[in-house]
Amino acid sequence: MDARQRPKPTGIVLKPMRRTGKQLARTLILGKPNTVLYPEEKLDLPQIYRGKHVLDFKKCIGCGNCVLVCPNDCMWLEKVEDPELGKIERPGVDLGRCLFCGFCAEVCPTVALHMTTEFELADRDRDNLRLGPLDIRDDSFGETFIEERQKRLVPVLDLSKCTDCEMCAGECPEMCIAMMPIENTDRKKPEMNLAKCLSHGKCAEACPEKALTMTEVYESYFDMSEPDLVLEKCSGCGACARKCPSEAIYMLEMPGTEKTLKGGKKGKPKKRAVFVLEKCVGCGRCHKACRFDAIDMPGVRK
């Protein structure tokens, strides 16, 4: 017997005709075709579509990670004078060179940079494609849709308020806080093991000075490098702390390094930089600011 079934004539002709007849009724009488008549209608694009950039000035901290990560080198930081925020640095984007990979929006540590669904970006002049920070400013865009990036509640330390009382280390149920002495100073600093942290928030409750606060931090897929201090070279000038966009660098005094002045009085002690790495966004601005090569940052060009 032939295993193959011979199709009947009705199956060859009438069944397809019934199918197309239904389609015809659907597109001609009951509804309309699937085509989107582009200039009049527009496709309903998904929220994750990567179109023109939009920057939230208030969320942006001006770290420049977007500039660092851009594969086409089409972004730059520009100094802007803002009546509300003062003198700030914000990124601009050259759409003529942009490849719309979305890395800039993904690497942004504060999720200030978004990509909208606007795709009609053509222009007759190449210069009009260079959008400065003021051209892409839209402070209210972030409220228009639900954020998809992973957030995590972690304790963030304000080292200037910390009094080394060790309350947080005692309260942590996961035992992930250890008081580590800072080299050459008499201070201690709680070091969080964030891999173990389960966001209980007990350390922040226990802190008498409110130095620890539970803050939502966006997780990044990007492996940003961290600064590493070479203590012998540090002169304590504080340029890195002034440059740091996320205020993760504190200048602490080193007792015992005071110079004896002529009158027998002792001068001010030398300072050193201390990094609170939970706050660090890995932008490398401290590395660039340091004139004594005291900050190592692998992977960041000076």
Binding site: I12, P16, M17, T20, L24, T27, P33, T35
Partner: protein, 376 residues
Amino acid sequence: MNLFEFCHGIIHWLVDLVNNLWYWLGDFLPWYFGDLFTAIGDFAASEGHLLFMTVLVESVVIIVVALINVLNFLWIFRKLSGRILDFYGPYYVGYRIGGWLQNLADGVKLFTKEIITPTKADRLGFLLAPVIFVGSSVTILAVIPLSANFGLSTTSEPGEYVSAGALFALAAFSIAPFAILLAGWSSNNKYTLIGGMRSAAQMMSYEIPLLLAAASVFLLAGSFNFVDIVDAQHDMWFFIPLFIGFVVFLICLIAEVEIIPFDLPEAEAELVEGWTTEYGGMRFGLFYMTTAVRSYAGGALATAFFLGGWQGPWFVPDEIWFLIKAYIVYTVFMWLTWSVPRVRIDQMLVFGWRRLLPLAVLNLLIAAALKSGGWL
């Protein structure tokens, strides 16, 4: 009033008008000019001249009506293909009438294109092929009347048309393979040649069942005349007793008109554009238009032979009834076209010779039995 009387009246009025002017002009001239003018005016008013001019005007009217219908057919073709395949079809040109003007716009565009003849083509054949194809296809329209009052005739008697018009229409219908073969050969291109050969094989094998199915109709009607055939269907349309013949006739028409299940001569996936590959500009446009003319003629033939011609309830004019039926036949063709895939050449020939031909003979036997039994 039928078409002949209408056209005759127009020509008579025009000749009278011109002759009055002409004789009035002759009064101002010397006598020898006046005599010449009178002679010319008498010739213009003679019965033979009037008849000739009337037939000319009649053909113009019939061709114009047919070409308007062809534009409608092309529009149906494009619109239905669009809607069945889930897109809009013609839309912007003639927005308010459903994109109807798109075909006119395409025609204008094709007129502006350069007409290219391949270097190694047979120039005479290359030029003659579209002429024969278009000419033979348009000739079919001359003998197909839309009603007893609307057709090419030389007398004012209603229904006096070309005798054996149906036979003439079928004969003109089957000249096309020759033109197609000529086009395929003279283009000097392997794709066109294969397309032309396929077309010849296809048309020759489907001509016979087509004619046998038509023969059963002639047998029942007892005439080759369109009016007699339609009048014979007054009590019962022929597609009911001759249902097998009707189906065979429709399938053979699809093969003759070369639309999709049987469009092997211009199979886009295999041969570039089949036998029209080397034709560009308005020559291609004429081929495209003529395919629709042949579809129109095919629908009209199916209507006249099997669907009762212009017979229908009184509230719609006869001509409109005829056109409605032809449009329905064409729409079903298009529906089939966008539903089924193209068949293979061997499948098609096997289907034609082994299935359709016996069915057509069976149908002829049924017709003979009905006629000799006196049931119809």
